[in-house]
Subunit: 190 residues, 2 copies
DNA sequence: AAAAACGTTAAGAATTTATTTAATAAATTT
DNA sequence: AAATTTATTAAATAAATTCTTAACGTTTTT
C-alpha cells in the first residue's frame, strides 16, 4: 500500500519535472538564471511556498532562494502574500502567462525605448552642431548628416515599440489577436 | 587645420558613443553579452567591417570578434556579404530594427512554444494515466487532475504566442499597429 | 528580558563564462 | 610548391556570476 503510494508520487513528480525542465530551459529569454527559472516552475505547481519549502524542494541555500525570489518579484512572476498564522513570508507564482508576458516585455521594451531615444536625442544634438558649424569640413558634414538620418529613421521603430507596449497595457492587442478559448485547444491535441 | 579636423572627429565619436552605449546596454534583452552588443552598435554606424577592423575598433582579439559575430549572425543582426577584391570576410549590420525584432522574437517565442508544448503534452499523458488508473488514491487523482487542468489552461497562452509570431511573420501585425511614418516623428522631438 | 525564528547582507568559494594567446587548417599569392 | 594571409579551434587565463556559510538585525515567542 505504501509502495503503491510511492509509485503514484513518483509518476506525478516525473510529469511535473518534464514541464519544470522545459520552463526553466526557456526562462533564459526572461533574463533569469537556470535556478530562478526552476524555482518559478516549481512554484507554478504549488499554491504557495515559503523560503524554507523552496530550499528543501530545490536543495539549495536559503539566501539563494531569497535572491531568486527577489528577481522573480521584480518581473512580477512571483508575489508575496500575507498569511495570518504563519510568520514566514509566503510567496505565490503568477500562473497567468499573459500577465507575465505583459509585465515583462512592457518593462523591458520601455527601458529600451527610453534609453535609446534619450541617447539618440543627445547624439543628434551634437551631430546638428557639426552640421551647422560652417567650419566643419565637407566630408565630416556629410558623414554627420548620414548618421543623423540613420538615427532619425530608427525612431520609427522605437515609436512603434512604444505603441506596441501601449496596446499590450490597455489590452487592445487582444482585439487584434484574441486569446484562444478552451475549444480551440483540442485540434492542437493530436 | 589638423587639430580642427581632430576636433570634428572627436565630436562625431562622442555622438556615436552615446548611441553605442545605449544600444549595448539594452542588448541584454537579446541575450547578448555587453561586447557583442557593443560590436553590433559599432557596426550599425559602418557600411561594412572585416574582423580586423572590428578588432581594431574595439581593441579586442580576433577570435573574440569571430565568436561575437557568429552570435550576431545567429539572430540575423549581422550578415556576411561577398566583396570581390577583398579576401577577408566582410560583414554588415542589419540596420532595420523591425527586421531584427521579427527575427529575434519569432525565433525565441517559437522555441518557447515548441519546448513547453511538447513537455505539456508528455506530462499530460502521464497525468492522464494516473487519473484513469482505478488504483490511484483519491488524493493523488485529485492533484493530478488539478495539474492537468492547469497545464490545459496554459495552452491558451502558447497558442496565442504562436499566433502572435505568425502575425509578425506575415506582417499582419502592421495592419493593427502601423509603422509610424516620418511625419509622426517630429512632435516627439521636443 | 532572553531565546528562537526569520530574512537579508557580507565575505569567500566554486562554478561558469568570456577573453586571450598559441596552434591549426584552409585558401590565396608569389 | 613555398610563403603568406585569413579564420577558426584549443588550451590557458582572466573575469564575472552564482552559490554557500557565517554573521547581522529584526521580529516574535516564551
Amino acid at each position: 500500500m505504501d509502495s503503491r503510494h510511492e509509485l503514484e508520487h513518483e509518476k506525478m513528480e516525473s510529469a511535473k519535472d518534464k514541464v519544470i525542465g522545459a520552463i526553466s530551459e526557456t526562462m533564459d529569454l526572461y533574463g533569469l538564471t537556470r535556478s530562478a527559472g526552476k524555482l518559478y516552475a516549481t512554484m507554478y505547481f504549488e499554491d504557495e511556498m515559503t523560503l524554507d519549502e523552496m530550499r528543501q524542494e530545490l536543495s539549495m541555500s536559503k539566501p539563494s532562494m531569497s535572491t531568486s525570489v527577489r528577481k522573480l518579484q521584480e518581473i512580477e512572476m512571483v508575489k508575496k502574500v500575507f498569511r495570518r498564522g504563519s510568520r514566514k513570508d509566503v510567496y505565490v507564482a503568477e500562473k497567468n502567462f499573459f500577465r507575465s508576458f505583459m509585465v515583462f516585455y512592457c518593462q523591458m521594451w520601455d527601458r529600451e525605448v527610453k534609453m535609446n531615444m534619450e541617447a539618440i536625442h543627445q547624439a543628434q544634438k551634437e551631430l546638428s552642431e557639426l552640421i551647422e558649424d560652417t567650419n566643419t569640413s565637407k566630408e565630416t558634414r556629410q558623414e554627420a548628416q548620414e548618421h543623423y538620418d540613420l538615427l532619425e529613421r530608427s525612431k520609427t521603430y522605437y515609436l512603434w515599440l512604444e505603441k506596441l507596449v501601449a496596446s499590450i497595457r490597455n489590452e487592445e492587442i487582444f482585439e487584434f489577436l484574441p486569446k484562444p478559448d478552451q475549444n480551440e485547444l483540442n485540434h492542437k491535441n493530436s
